[in-house]
Amino acid sequence: MIKTFNLTKIFSDKKRGEIKAVDGVSLECKPGRIFGLLGLNGAGKTTLMRILSTSLKPTSGTAKIDGYEILNQPEMVKKRIGFLSSDTGLYPRLTAFETVTYFARLNGMEKEAIRRRIDEIFEILDMNDYRDMKVDKLSTGMKQKVSIARTMVHDPQVLILDEPTLGLDVITSRNIIDFVKSSKQRSKIVLFSTHVMHEAEKLCDDIAIIHKGKILEVATLAEYRQKTNLDSLDDIFVKIVGE
């Protein structure tokens, strides 16, 4: 479970003064469900997810991931999450195999377990052809698969995916979408942020609309439709944000 308690992050900017990037966010993501975080660019999605992945510290409030508190037990939290975003790059001079091994080792996995797990993942993702190729030489789609393999190598219970399909073509995006769906089936907790409405519409069980750092509403798509009398998420989003 991901549970946040009044999470707030304030950045101070020389020109713009204090900016509340995340403003009192409290939410709950449950296993076996995909929790969508829907918001415009700059709404605070990335900041919120960086806080949950312990890369950033909240100004106030806290969160618990799979029972571990982000401020006091960041190492335990990091072992339980798989974090993937459009900004998470790969080491160009390492091979696909070396990359995944590195992250597996950092997660404390033993040699034999790593080998078995990598064999399994590379098989599932159909990556064996370029197992020993340097990341530099791989296509965008292949790189994306390496990233997915890197994210799931330690079989994390929680997946934090920050606009993972941003800038990818339809085919490459499908790798990610399939990965999200299969994670759901395996009862993982998936937090998925996007600004692409149809993606959220297709994938997410629960959708939180975030705007200017605040969560405006959390509901299922059906509930949104019922409440607003609108059908498409585009219209629903505009209505809620505009209110």
């Binding site: 990091k78 999450i81 974090f83 975003s85 998470t88 950092l106």
Partner: protein, 398 residues
């Protein structure tokens, strides 16, 4: 801090860095090739051109040929100089039709015959290398001529030459051959090694910080179960390793090159200079280099961590490099010796200590003090680097 994780980070960073062509060039190729190229290439070229220039007889304009007919005849017959006659010798030198001019006073030959003092004037252009060389040759020739005149005159009077030389001055260099070799090496070896330790650390330091930001891998690793401290330590140890490898290779290459090279260099003959650096000296220098390379590595990591991209990091580091290289140049200053206050100044202290050690002076008190003080500076700098890795406004600078 988990040392196992630091080790994992270290080995991954080493693997990654050793696959970077830029690092390989600055870590292996530059230190190995720099010295032989400088010594054999550059000095070899200089020697070659000097020798070539020596072979061609300088063109000399004789002014007042009639004043010294026999000397002029001798000069043009012997072929050591190419003799020309022109009235305007200044133009000839300026327009490079001649390297020098030799003018005889009106009564030159008469004065010589009368056993009096005659006057000859050499005109030349000091801003021209060839002209200066010609003057040297002319001066030698004339003093030779003068010498033979003196001998003749003394012989005629049956006077022994020693009358003119009441004191026979002799000079002898008491420096051992090792010291002569060490003296030359001590001028530039510390400087070169310090620079190369710095240059060796530069690329990996940028690549492992700003380069990671640029490629987005910093974001990936920060969300992985490794603490900032472990990450900073692993990166630091990697940069320091590369810096030390560069310095060790440079030291070896330079010692070997110097051993072969000085013997072949123009003014120094193998009998005068023998380069044999004691192993103890090398070991002491390498031990002193450990903390200085740690200091460089952490400083470079800190500076480049601020940058958002590789290019930005390079522009931050350039002025910083000058700041670190300048103190290393102290070894070129004549008369600056290691003393208590200087032993506490980073970079300068190691440069001076390395210089002394190469000259065979082992001042253990200073060496210990310098090592300890540099370790303290490096530790402080490493602490700062680790703290910077914890600052999210630096890591996520946009």
């Amino acid at each position: 801090m988990d040392f196992k994780k630091t080790k994992i980070v270290y080995f991954k960073e080493m693997l990654d860095t050793l696959r970077d062509r830029r690092t390989i060039i600055s870590m292996i190729l530059v230190p190995i090739l720099l010295f032989p190229v400088l010594m054999f290439g550059m000095s070899g070229l200089v020697v070659f051109f000097m020798e070539e220039a020596e072979k061609i007889p300088p063109r000399v304009v004789i002014v007042g040929k009639a004043n010294a007919p026999s000397l002029t005849r001798k000069l043009s017959q012997e072929g050591e100089f190419k003799i020309t006659y022109e009235t305007n010798f200044r133009d000839a030198i300026r327009d490079k039709r001649a390297e020098a001019a030799l003018s005889f006073s009106e009564d030159f030959e008469n004065m010589i015959e009368a056993e009096d003092s005659a006057q000859a004037t050499i005109y030349y252009d000091e801003a021209e290398v060839k002209s200066s060389m010609a003057v040297g040759k002319l001066r030698d020739y004339l003093s030779h001529y003068e010498d033979s005149m003196v001998t003749q005159r003394l012989k005629k009077r049956k006077v022994d030459r020693s009358l003119l030389q009441p004191v026979d001055i002799k000079e002898e260099n008491v420096a051992s051959q090792e010291k002569m070799g060490g003296f030359m090496l001590s001028m530039f070896l510390p400087y070169m090694i310090i620079i190369l330790a710095l240059i060796g650390a530069m690329y990996p330091a940028i690549d492992l910080t700003a380069g990671e930001k640029e490629r987005g891998t910093l974001e990936t690793i920060l969300a992985s179960p490794v603490s900032r401290g472990e990450l900073a330590t692993g990166k630091f140890l990697c940069v320091m390793t590369i810096s030390m490898i560069t310095a060790v290779l440079a030291t070896c290459s330079m010692s070997i090159t110097a051993g072969i090279g000085f013997a072949k260099m123009g003014p120094f003959t193998p009998e005068e200079v023998q380069i044999s650096i004691k192993l103890t000296s090398i070991l002491i220098i390498l031990i002193l280099l450990l903390p200085i390379s740690a200091l460089f590595s952490s400083l470079l990591l800190s500076v480049s961590l601020f940058a958002k991209s590789y290019k930005e990091a390079q522009s931050y580091i350039t002025p910083f490099m000058f700041l670190l290289i300048m103190p290393a140049m102290i070894t070129f200053m004549p008369g600056v010796e290691l003393n208590w206050p200087l032993a506490f100044v980073p970079v300068i202290n190691v440069s001076l200590a390395a210089k002394e050690v190469l000259l065979g002076t082992y001042n253990w008190g200073f060496i210990g003090l310098i090592f300890v003080s540099t370790v303290i500076y490096a530790s402080f700098s490493i602490y700062v680097t680790k703290r910077l890795f914890e600052k999210e406004w630096i890591l996520f600078r946009t």
